[in-house]
């Protein structure tokens, strides 16, 4: 299956379960991590022909997604004497695709890169859309570029080795897409066999369907608003809360998708307090998240500090907070000018 991301300047294809043989007349630099390479690199290498292939692995984990690691990657790229026609392949989860894309975008002022995601979360979200970036002490993804891949290859095969938590975390971003854009899709998710899915014993078709649907929805958004001036902001549903939680827990307690699941529920409680969402709808979303064993609660120790941390998010300029909320299932909206009292009230419900 193929889905086109139809950007004016940088259109590209996302291939789902279509990775056969890739031939390159250039050098190829594969960026991965030790775990993923151990599981899948041999399979990938069997499918790639290139002038020369270099393989670099970096430490796994959001806590290493920083400028030091970027410097390490760049040094390895220079050691491999990559030129401007060389291609970087990000082979891993969201951390790898965010960092590989960023390194590619600044190496010799930009070389091409391809994403081959190996987590469900990266398939449904991180690998498509051209956001690259790293974290620093001020917050998440605060340094980066908009830089589109030349192609994305999602393979169900690579998802078979994922654990239950990782599959659920990917599901969280998929549920997010359904909640903000597509009520029918949410009904489909509700009807899914979660046990088969979480044990990775479902059909390949289930993976393909989830990935394809998510990318179709995301492609439409990115095509209309590549640089996130308006519509694309909807994709941050749950993320304003999630980024604070991830930062407070130093990226070591929750997988990104898990933090997003909690963030969605927090956003829904805010929407409930603003009478945008009914209690029934709020509950329904929480039940769907729970069905996939996703967390939906986080105990806020210091409400003031949590509130203050919102302002370090990229999107919250000039102390103006925008929240992505839901006003009915399948319909997200951007909400500014919320009375701080309502926000604090919501946070207190989690304290």
């Amino acid at each position: 299956m193929q889905i086109k991301v139809n950007l004016k300047e940088n259109a590209y294809q996302v291939y789902i379960d279509e990775l056969e043989n890739l031939e390159f007349d250039t050098k190829v630099f594969i960026l991965s991590n030790p775990k993923i390479s151990g599981f899948h690199l041999k399979k990938l290498l069997n499918k790639i022909k290139a002038k020369e292939i270099f393989i670099a692995t970096i430490k796994d984990g959001e806590e290493y997604k920083n400028l030091n690691t970027i410097e390490e990657i760049l040094n390895q790229m220079f050691n491999s004497k990559l030129d401007r026609k060389s291609i970087l392949i990000s082979f891993g989860g969201g951390v790898i695709s965010d960092m590989g894309g960023f390194a590619a975008s600044i190496y010799k002022r930009g070389i091409d890169f391809i994403n081959i995601p190996t987590t469900l979360l990266a398939c449904v979200d991180a690998a498509v859309g051209g956001k690259t970036g790293i974290n620093n002490s001020f917050g998440k993804n605060l340094i980066g570029t908009f830089y589109q891949p030349k192609a994305v290859y999602c393979e169900s095969e690579f998802l078979r080795t994922l654990g239950e938590r990782e599959l659920a975390a990917g599901m969280a971003e998929f549920i997010k897409m359904a909640v903000i854009f597509d009520k029918d899709l949410l009904d489909f998710i509700e009807s899914m066999d979660e046990k088969a899915f979480l044990s990775a014993k479902c059909e390949n078709e289930i993976f393909s369907k989830i990935i394809a649907k998510s990318i179709e929805l995301k492609a439409k958004v990115v095509e209309q608003d590549e640089k996130e001036n308006h519509l694309r902001m909807l994709l941050n549903y749950g993320h304003t809360f999630a980024h604070v939680i991830e930062n407070l827990t130093k990226y070591s307690v929750y997988l990104h998708g898990e933090a997003v699941a909690i963030g969605m529920n927090m956003a829904n409680h805010l929407a409930l307090n603003l009478s945008l969402l009914s209690e029934k709808e709020c509950d329904k979303i929480e039940q769907i998240l729970k069905k996939f064993n996703l967390p939906t609660r986080y105990k806020i120790d210091n409400v003031e500090a949590f509130y203050e941390a919102f302002f370090m998010d990229k999107k919250n300029s000039n102390r103006k907070l925008n929240f992505i909320l839901i006003n009915s299932l399948g319909r997200g909206l951007i909400k500014g000018d919320i009375d701080p009292k309502d926000i604090i009230k919501t946070l207190k419900e989690f304290s």
Copy 2:
């Protein structure tokens, strides 16, 4: 005077001696160095109104143009809580504009920036064209982005405090433009009163003319080939040699323009050996460079090592060397497939 740089996506104006009052409805972050701020910041601040103004200075010099300094700049930007609508102003020479542009391009995936160059070299070259970047141990400007400024303001006033060497270094890039594109301009340079110019005692009109002419020529090139696929490579005349010289001397012996002056003369000797250029033309260019007290010779200690260092340059992919040479005054060309013997022979002439 105004010159439009007419890029498809990111057109902008270069204003020459037209900096009156700049008003911003946003935060403004001025990046400069201690010396420039001491000389000119007060004058600049008198002309800027903004919501909030932050001033950050970084150490002066090419040896600090690295990823550590970028991290420092970014941290100061985060401390100033700049949002996506904030504007960075690079106020300084080429080092400042290259680093300010790069920091702006990766801060929260890109904010706007404006160049206000304070060296002649930055006015005639670095401030226009959208190349941003830093050096690393592998070479010069190897990490960076293509990222265009929103506007450029060149002011003769800021050039009055420059020393003789700095003015001559700027002249080197101007002479470069004339040699590759415009024989009449070269004749004008030959007729200039170099004493008045080098002591910064010439008319403002001389500065304006030099800057305007150089930017007009550069704008035409960048408009046709923003990402340096072909035509823009001509602007690297002299630079293939210069980058090696700067790297070998650790950026501490020559100003960039001085290294370029030597590099042009080396390129001309290569062109002479290839019978592209006559001895008379080669001499004429060297005399014009010398007229402005520019160096034209560098003693190469190790010819083999010098030759090998060419291959770290961004442009020399897959061990294929391209040189920018002159085949008559005002006409540059890209020359590949040169017999290594001819290159080595030329390098030996300087050993």
